[in-house]
Amino acid sequence: MPVIFITDAFIFLLLAMVIGFVFYARRHEHLRAPWREVAKRPLAMSAAVVLLVYIVIGLLDSLHFHPALDEPDNQGNTVYSTEINSVLDLLLNDLRQNTERTYSAPLAAHAFAKEIIEQEDGTQVRDYPRLLYGGAYLNNPETERVPDILLRSFIGILMGVFIGSILLLLFVWLQAKRMQLNARNIFQRLIKDELDVPWYAILLTVSVLLIIFSIIFQLSGHYHVFGTDKVGQDILYQAVKSIRTGLVIGTLTTLVMLPFAIMMGLMAGYFRGWIDDVIQYLYTTLNSIPGVLLIAASILLLQVYIGKHEAEFTSLEQRADLRLLFLCIILGITSWTGLCRLLRAETLKLREVDYVQAAKAFGVGNFKIMMRHLLPNVMHIVMISIVLDFSGLVLAEAVLSYINIGVDPSMHSWGNMINGARLEMARDPVVWWSLAASFIFMFLLVLAANLFSDAVRDAFDPRLRGID
């Protein structure tokens, strides 16, 4: 039985908008040209592949439902569990359910701390107990574990290389058909980077990702690749589940603030006079309140609200989801001022341009002038600020969660993982894996976003042409 969270609805709205924009941009040369520029950069295309993987995982995690229970009730109807799962949970079912009792190191077969174990003859010894799932099928982990891991990794690499080669062949075959050339010719062009898009970079990234995925796939069935946390949950599962939170914060915040920023910026620049004064006053005032404090105050308010209306929330997930949406809105309120100011400055310049003056002379309405003549000409600023803001927002989520004013503590997020891992660093020996996992996942996403946004900025910003 499907469940739609508010943020899910927004995510799919955003997806629909992006698809719509793609179709629109395909038919307009001035929008296509900068994107073609982006597509020519190998680094940007590799980053795009990584981003796409994250987005697919995030989307899979946004399809929520109540799973059906195995046993129907006495009238034969299917009974649904109160639990809410996503399609991603279904795919990662093993990871989700194979929980240990407490900490265990990555790829370990034994627990992290000593416990008293009762042996078969009734005596008790203090030793590291075997894990319930990690390497559980090995008879003698001390000798078998390392060869087993190596063997599985090797199989994983082979599998990755195999799928990668199939993709390569498929690609060469398709291109050969499209360009009416023989396969060898295409292959040479691919390696020498003579195709219209740097496909070698894309294929290389895809292959590397495939190899990593197949190694993890091979290992994760029998081990905890990134170890387990205090309550024994698999760290890899947590890190993957956190992807959705990061993406939601990075994209929905912008989506929420965009209409305000665009409307206000255009109006201030176009009408000038008292409208300009009011809007300037508004954003200077909002800007002068320290962002973190505004967020903190609002989150405190939300907590009070939730406390008062506890009955309205049917599940913990829904509560966490509302908080996530609220956080996006607040982050949007604190961050729309920058874009608004840029748009205002640009509109001030544009309103004096001939075609706007001509439109005015022909008696075109103000709203129509803003929509048809001003908006398309400031879109590059909007585009640049969307992609530039994304990585900053993902990083901000971690910091906010650390001071407990970020997402709900029950929600999977990198910030919450880091926050939890903070105290574990003081343990001896150090529990480093949960920190490492969140670091790797976050770093990859933010790095890819930064590289991609650089390319977008260079392609869209006419001012920067010729500098780098």
Binding site: T284, P290, L300, V304, G307, N404, R422
Partner: protein
Amino acid sequence: MISYILRRILYAVPILIGVNVITFMLFFVVNTPDDMARMQLGMKRVTDEAILKWKEERGYNKPVVWNSEAQSFEKITNTIFFENSIKLFVFDFGRSDNGRDISYDISQRMWPSLAITVPSLLLGLFSYISFGLILAFFRGTYVDVSGVILCVIMMSISGLFYIIGGQYLIGKTLHLVPISGYDTGWEAIKFTILPVVVGLVGGIGASTRWYRTLFLEEMNKDYVRTARAKGLSETRVLYQHVFMNGLIPILTGVVVLLPTLFIGSLIIESFFAIPGLGSYTIDAINAQDFAIVRSMVFLGSVLYIIGLILTDISYTLVDPRVRLN
């Protein structure tokens, strides 16, 4: 000049009133004192008398903006709005929800914050500008390309990891300086080293790249071409012409930061247990002490606005093209 400054200051007044109204709405209207009391005393099992007592102790039992029972001026002054919001304008912050004098706390906690932020700013400016200049000087070469790549990589790492990594590496493994804490007098220096270094390293990526772009933009201007055309060496062009002109945006960018140095850095202070205003704020957020949060919001906005005014003034001083009107 003086009339210009006066005008700028007068312009700040409505903004401060706006900030004040927003914070008042957030803390007293959207979220009534009853809610606050309930939150402080525990959500469920709390009696009405306990709430009343809590409100009375903190003066939240008065009417919100208009006291119809009081005499003459008291009608306005004896209200929550006057007591808690208007008084902020004369920096009378009142008492925190657990009874401490906020003004005293702020005056005490300001110094540790400054001990971290001032060295961070100075060292940061020096090193980031140097790195930026070096990359700009070597533009287009491998030094520049690898430098920019390194910057992007460093930018992509969350600040939290720099802090945790620095604490672990320098404090715990190498035992060079204490991991966290603070002391009075000169002893404090050894506690400030790690936060300053961590803050510095964490900012390298974004700042170096920013300064590099700034200098490169400056290098594309006409006067640079003229300087080169008359035969000046590249070093001289870079250090005498580009650097000097690049200083204008840098200086004005720094001036806006100066007042906010008092507030300190929230994250660094709470990680390193520095008893400054940043950790004061975080503690208040965690303890849900609305009085402190409210005061800090106001103080933060005042400092930000002072920064804006200083920026405008410094523009007119540094750049003769900017006219006072």
